[in-house]
């Protein structure tokens, strides 16, 4: 269908320090109703959004890290994480949540949502988008 656009949400900020990460997530969830070809990219401090074990109890802020696991339910299945950003921060893929989506057509088979990409690969993906939203 020609009216399906390729949309990429580009996330470059850490969670909690600013409101960008949560705002982005809300826009993604709301935008998911419009049946477009959606992907999320995490680079720079954005990779911190996906780390495991976040506990905001003592800060009085909402812990929205649990919400990333719902993205699969919203049919957001393409999550690109840029590898150099992880390296620079001493993070491994294993430090991130294991995000999956369930393929209804294959008896709810679980498939990985996160794809590790290089800066060059991400640049190619960006070049292929109709619209990018930057947070």
């Amino acid at each position: 269908m020609s009216d399906v656009k390729k949309l990429m949400y580009v996330n470059r900020r850490a969670p909690y320090g600013t409101i960008y990460a949560w705002e982005s997530l809300e826009v993604v969830l709301i935008g998911a109703a419009f049946d477009q070809d959606v992907s999320l990219a995490f680079l720079d401090d954005g990779v911190y959004q996906l780390t495991k074990g976040q506990n905001t109890e003592d800060t009085g802020m909402k812990n929205f890290s649990a919400t990333y696991a719902a993205l699969g339910d919203y049919e957001v299945t393409k999550i690109y994480v840029e590898k150099d950003s992880l390296d620079e921060r001493g993070l491994l893929l294993d430090d991130l949540q294991h995000l999956v989506w369930e393929d209804e057509d294959e008896d709810w088979a679980e498939k990985d949502s996160i794809r590790l990409v290089s800066r060059a690969e991400l640049a190619d993906l960006m070049a292929d988008q109709d619209i990018m939203f930057n947070f």
Partner: protein, 98 residues
């Protein structure tokens, strides 16, 4: 005169931490809060800049960001909000590198 240097920005996004570090004297303490706590995580590039300094990090902000105390570089003190206040009292003045 001793100073408590407070940094709250991620070292990977802003240069505030590096500027602060250049101003730190022997009797000073650097307190990392909010996104600056990422600097104290082992294996990150920013951690190298902190060696030899008296560093404290705010525990609540570490926990919010999923950084366990086992992931911190050596020699870092984790403080709670009361410890934050103690640091402010212990030093002659406070410099916030916003």
């Amino acid at each position: 005169m001793s100073i408590l240097h407070i940094v709250n920005k991620s070292p990977y996004e802003k240069s505030s931490l590096y500027t602060a570090v250049d101003f730190v004297k022997d009797s000073d303490v650097v307190l990392l809060i909010e996104d600056a706590v990422y600097a104290a995580a082992r294996g990150g590039k920013a951690a190298e800049k902190l060696s030899g300094l008296d560093i404290s990090v705010l525990g609540a902000d570490l926990a919010a960001r999923g950084i366990g105390e086992d992931k911190l570089i050596d020699g870092v003190s984790v403080v709670d909000y009361a410890g934050f206040v103690d640091l402010v009292k212990a030093k002659d003045s406070t410099q916030s590198w916003l």
